[in-house]
């Protein structure tokens, strides 16, 4: 069963300078017990996507087409705010870049973790035990004592782990993690990712993990969705995307990662050009204006090409772009 199915999702914001097509024909799934990564640069529509899923689009924006199906039955598009809130508390939870968004600075950690369980029907002592257990799971030392402390008494890494513990406490079916490690130091990031992976296995939930960091996505995720200018340009399992990318944007993006350049170079690869104005999308392929492989027919509407094994790329040349990243690296 799939936990989340997004079909032909379109989101449009009305702005002073005309309608802004922020998400266009977005398709992907989050299967049960899998970690799906969404990767893309700023302006690619990652945050709009999350807000659309959570029903938190800004007032000037709305879903103009498509569906977001949760657990095979509930369409989250047009769900009443009450029902959405109920889902958000128990079945879908979130972790954001800044853990203080989830933590109330004036309440103790224990109090907040007990409050979350208000629907569980457990006794207060049981709730506290559960809270301590969760803190142990996220490796907060001396969990019992930590319950009586306040958010500011923890370091940034610990706060984020506490936020993760709170998000997973009700054992949701889906955890949406929006750049949860971006604000952390690189060495802490590693530990936090490992922790997230561990917890996901223990609890058996699915994770939708949003990041701009390719390395983190490669490490954590089972499947990857690559977004560019509000469109899904490529998706598939993590090895297909990183070892056999078929969309020119994915290939260029992977090349740009400085970690990928094993030999020292004074001339780092870049993607020249700018992301298009979403008020005036280019005809056909959205990456066409920046793509060095573009031909005339790229101006026609592009369908997703199936490359087998769930690997899809929205590029007419996808079947032909088979040389691997290793060969690409050797060629440059």
């Amino acid at each position: 069963m799939t936990v989340l199915t997004i079909r032909d999702l379109n989101v449009v914001f009305s702005t002073e300078a005309g309608p802004l097509h922020a998400l266009k024909d977005v398709n992907f799934e989050v299967p049960e017990r899998r970690i799906v990564g969404i990767v893309g640069e700023s302006g690619c529509g990652k945050s709009t996507l999350i807000n659309a899923i959570l029903g938190l689009l800004a007032d000037n924006g709305g879903v103009t087409g498509g569906s977001i199906t949760f657990e095979g039955q509930t369409d989250l598009v047009g769900l009443s705010p009450d029902k959405m809130r109920a889902l958000r508390g128990e079945r879908i939870s979130t972790v954001f870049q800044d853990p203080m968004g989830a933590l109330n600075p004036v309440l103790s950690i224990g109090r907040q973790m007990v409050n979350i369980q208000y629907r569980s029907g457990l006794s207060r002592a049981e709730k506290e035990a559960r809270a301590a257990e969760m803190l142990e799971l996220v490796r907060i030392p001396d969990a019992r004592a930590a319950l009586s402390r306040f958010p500011h008494q923890f370091s940034g890494g610990m706060k984020q782990r506490i936020a993760i513990a709170m998000a997973l406490m009700m054992e949701p079916a889906l955890l949406i993690a929006d750049e949860p490690t971006t604000a952390l130091d690189a060495t802490l990031e590693v530990a936090t990712i490992e922790l997230l992976k561990d917890l996901q296995e223990k609890i058996g939930c699915s994770v939708l993990f949003i990041s701009h960091h390719l390395g983190v996505i490669a490490e954590l995720c089972d499947e990857v969705v690559v977004m560019y200018a509000g469109e899904v340009v490529e998706r598939g399992d993590v090895r297909s995307i990183f070892n056999d990318p078929r969309h020119p944007y994915t290939r260029r993006l992977l090349e740009c990662d400085p970690a990928r350049q094993s030999s020292r170079t004074r001339n780092l690869p870049t993607i020249p050009g700018e992301i298009p104005d979403l008020r005036a999308r280019p005809r056909g392929c959205v990456f066409r204006p920046r793509c060095d492989l573009a031909v005339d027919t790229c101006a026609d509407p592009q369908a997703e090409r199936d490359l087998g094994g769930g690997h899809q790329a929205r590029c007419q040349k996808a079947q032909g772009l088979t040389n691997t990243m290793a060969e690409l690296g050797a060629a440059t």
Binding site: F13, T15, E16, A17, L20, A22, S42, G43, G45, K46, S47, T48, N51, L56, L57, A58, N60, G61, E274, I275, D277, L278, R279
Partner: protein
């Protein structure tokens, strides 16, 4: 929140004065407020053209006349034309409002910048001073001052300035403190800019906007202070016309005719509403963060 506001290279938004004015006019309340303000300003500016009577010219035979084509608002207990007095009173009200607000702004900005950017002890001292000044009730302040100097237009303006400056300075100070450690100010320091230059070029343009909007919302308060002090005889001295003193005449002679009180009260209401609506619209359009102040 949405990427509509954070997409990589934001398009160049249309700017310019006309665009801003249109934004205000698009709000019904703003257009109404602007209309009232324009009406009052035009009345004050063209007072001599609009009314052929001298505001202070006595005409004992024409006492307590009802409104007519000759006297649009009638006459008062000394036979003076009320319409002319109202228009000229508007001059006084606007003069006091604009001059004292401008001086308050200038003082508030300078003091606020110094308190916010200067050393800690100076900031503490100035804050103490502002708070002390703010803790005086306006009426007490006015009474105390007038006792010392006698009633005058200057006294009214000094009271207004003393009332406004602490608040303005505090707003500027708070924002200056926030900007003091911002990267662009640090960058200016690292380039070798003097404190004066940093305050003038890098801090001031970023803190002045909200204050000007708030000050425009304070104008009705200033007009009310002027009218109030003149009503109490602490402000403009007769025979100079003021809405406050017209109102006072109206109360004294309410048994004879209601028109004097109406002539004194109506312009205060119109001006207050006009500036309030306009100020609120300006605030909503230009600085939604200030909503609810």
């Amino acid at each position: 929140m949405s990427e509509a506001v954070s997409d990589p290279a934001p398009p160049v938004a249309p700017s310019g004065l006309w665009h801003q004015v249109r934004k205000v006019l698009r709000e019904p309340l703003g257009a109404f407020g602007l209309g009232l303000v324009v009406l009052v300003v035009l009345g004050a500016v063209f007072a001599d053209v609009l009314s052929q009577y001298e505001p202070a010219a006595l005409s004992p035979r024409d006492r307590f006349l009802d409104p007519s084509t000759a006297h649009l608002l009638g006459t008062d207990q000394l036979g003076r034309d009320l319409f002319s007095r109202v228009l000229h009173g508007g001059r006084i009200a606007l003069y006091v409002a604009l001059v004292s607000t401008a001086i308050s702004l200038a003082l508030g900005i300078v003091l606020g910048l110094i308190a916010g950017y200067g050393p800690r002890w100076l900031d503490n001292l100035m804050i103490l001073l502002f708070d002390a000044l703010k803790s005086f009730p306006t009426v007490m302040l006015a009474l105390a001052l007038v006792t010392l100097t006698g009633p005058s237009l200057t006294a009214v303006m000094v009271v207004v300035i003393l009332v406004n400056v602490p608040g303005y300075a505090r707003i500027i100070r708070t924002q200056t403190i926030a900007l003091k450690t911002s990267e662009f100010v640090t960058a200016a320091q690292s380039m070798g800019a003097s404190s004066a230059r940093i305050l003038r070029v890098h801090v001031l343009p970023n803190v002045i906007g909200p204050l000007v909007i708030l000050a425009s919302m304070d104008i009705p308060v200033v007009i009310a202070i002027e009218a109030g002090m003149s009503f109490l005889g602490l402000g403009v001295r007769p025979p100079t016309p003021s809405w406050g003193s017209i109102l006072n005449d109206g109360f004294a002679n309410i048994r004879e005719t209601p028109w004097i009180a109406i002539a004194g009260g109506l312009p205060i209401i119109i001006t207050t509403l006009g500036f309030t609506f306009l100020g609120e619209t300006l605030r909503d359009v230009f600085d939604p963060r200030l909503k609810g102040r």
